[in-house]
Symmetry: C2
Subunit: 383 residues, 2 copies
């Protein structure tokens, strides 16, 4: 910054409202509760598509033909394996470490092992993106195995991306319904415009660093409780509530004390988060068929109480409010929720890096200096 | 973004000129060639201080008393050791991998091994910062050993931060003059305001993620050729020139063809980068005492030719122009230059994260959606 200025300098705290690039991937209208990828509403993606198809669409900024999708799917399946040296590492991670620390380290190591990692040309970056999307599944399942103190399950090439992940997680092939429900959850989380982790990936990639560096940065950002981790916090709250009959009093009390209720409200959405509607409907569908799970019963009460009191203020349950219960009903432990967020968002991260670096611009904003000037370095004996 | 707007939306490409936070650490006036930390000119820091003292000053935003500096220095010395599991890992990294991929992975693993990594309170973050500054030296020296195919040298607690690093790098205790010259180089690179890697560290930290995640992100960003790596590129150019008698013709030819000369010009500085002046003077001092090295002789010719022709346009040799030759004269190979940049900048990264997260604000700018709207998800058979 120049030393003197006539105008007061505007500080855009958190860069809120600052537009820094163009993108043709994802559109969000928080006021109206709209989320689209390539102009197609998220509800359609969830109901009629798959994680594989959406990943293709994000990476290419276009819908695939059936031949293109088949080739993409085959490439994903062919790339599920990871280097044995990495699996050996993951096996030896201290099992009490944070799974996101494990994921960040494992992906960074994957880059170290990739002899082509320094080729940051568009073609290699695209090939690397496909490999990373496929390998994330195997790496995350191996991390879950380490945390649970069991051997990692090798991937199967005859299952869908979602189905294979659930299989690796439990060692048992999921039902088609379970695989589909998890697929929908992956679709809903695959991309969300300029969220904090995607932005961090771009900040790293903007120095023309490699894709592993960008994704490692994104994992580190997603790890933070202000970004990933909200659905885990919702489950913590449900655990604290304990039983459904205590739910109304519990959250009423929280609202009276003006405490933040986890999974409720969103920086962008001032209306019902369209992703949460989809997940809520599917959770209800599962509950209708299989009976309401313990967590579902509590969640239902919390939702009703919260919506009745806060929706008038534009505060609604968000996607994290429902995803935890859906994952939990699929047998997934809450400490794995944030890695599973990464399992989905890797498509958005890589697609956004590919898009941004096509006409790359180094990201380098300014800080306003508010410290002292003209200071001497006084000799230390005189201080 | 809302769907419709009356006003044209301004896109701040690269976030250039956008102020997003306040800082009392570093002031830069690129027009006048001024760089200060805590209001003290960089020249004073280089001539009268040490990397240890500047690191303290950045982390605390104040100068230390002699007792405070002694305690800080003792803490750095006490923390030079790293977990044996990490050293074992580094030893087994494929020696042909990029050293920055190694550093990113090693620091991520260091976080995984730290049982307190999830404590993101200010006190633990400060303790972690000191440990990281100290451990970076040992980790980077171990990485250099792996690349060179030799055993890592254990740190010594009786040497300065700079002297100990040079000792670990060669296995031989450096002269006081060598240690001091390297210390000056570390001082000059310790912080530089809101550069791309520091900004990336803040983006990650702004989700309230841990310090290892922030630093891992910063390493990934520094790795990019638009940020770190410029001094390595200068050495590549000097190698290509080959001998000093070819230098004038070589760079004249480059300038005629309007090619970018590595290490010349800077996004911020439109005047002589104050850091480059200090390094140039010290490089000249060493050359005066020990005779001009091979690289110094070429550099001298390049500098003269470039300054004569470009300085009128506000384009000057920057710090990277000189640092490569200084490092090379200290016996450091050019593939280690970027890790050594990290060795210095870890102080700026950690200090900036500590400062920013005191009044944290999630970093989340916007992208302008330029894609299609109201698209149907056509059945794949119809595409």
């Amino acid at each position: 910054m120049p030393e003197t200025t006539q105008e007061p300098i505007k500080v855009y705290e958190g860069l809120a409202g600052v537009v820094f690039t163009e993108s043709e991937l994802t559109f969000i209208d928080g006021e109206k509760g709209i989320l689209t990828h390539l102009g197609i509403p998220i509800q359609d993606w969830a109901e009629k598509s798959t994680f594989e198809e959406l990943s293709y669409a994000l990476l290419h900024a276009k819908l695939p033909s059936s031949a293109e999708l088949a080739a993409f799917d085959a490439a994903l399946k062919a790339n599920r394996g990871v280097p044995p040296a990495l699996l050996e590492q993951i096996k030896n991670y201290p099992k009490t470490a944070n799974p996101m620390q494990m994921l960040r380290t494992a992906v960074s190591y994957l880059g170290l092992l990739d002899p082509n990692s320094e080729d940051t040309g568009a073609e290699n970056k695209y090939a690397t993106a496909i490999r990373m999307i496929a390998q994330f599944s195997t790496v995350i399942a191996a991390i879950c195995a380490t945390v649970e103190g069991r051997d990692a399950v090798a991937p199967r090439a005859d299952l869908t991306h979602a189905g294979n992940f659930l299989y690796m997680l439990s060692g048992t092939e999921p039902t088609l319904e379970q695989a589909r429900l998890f697929d929908i959850a992956l679709v809903l989380h695959a991309d969300h415009g300029m969220n904090a982790s995607t932005f961090t990936a771009l900040a790293t990639a903007s120095t023309l660093s490699d894709l592993y560096s960008a994704v490692t940065s994104a994992i580190g950002a997603l790890k933070g409780p202000l970004h990933g981790g909200a659905n885990e916090a919702v489950m913590d709250m449900l655990d604290e509530i304990g039983t459904s009959d205590r739910a109304v009093a519990f959250v009423t009390d929280m609202m009276d004390r003006k405490e933040k209720i986890m999974g409720v409200g969103h920086r962008v959405y001032k209306f019902f988060d369209p992703r949460s509607r989809v997940l809520r409907d599917y959770a209800a569908l599962v509950a209708g068929k299989q009976g309401k799970s313990h967590y579902y019963q509590i969640l239902e009460q919390v939702e009703e109480t919260v919506v009745a009191r806060l929706s008038g203020k534009g505060i609604y349950p968000n996607v994290d409010f429902y995803s935890g219960v859906v994952y939990s009903d699929l047998g997934i432990k809450k400490e794995f929720f944030t890695p599973i967020f990464a399992l989905a968002r890797i498509s958005g991260w890589t697609a956004s890096v590919l898009e941004y670096t096509k006409a790359n611009k180094l990201l380098r904003p300014l800080a306003l200096y508010t410290g002292q000037s003209d200071q001497p370095l006084t000799p230390i004996a005189e201080r």
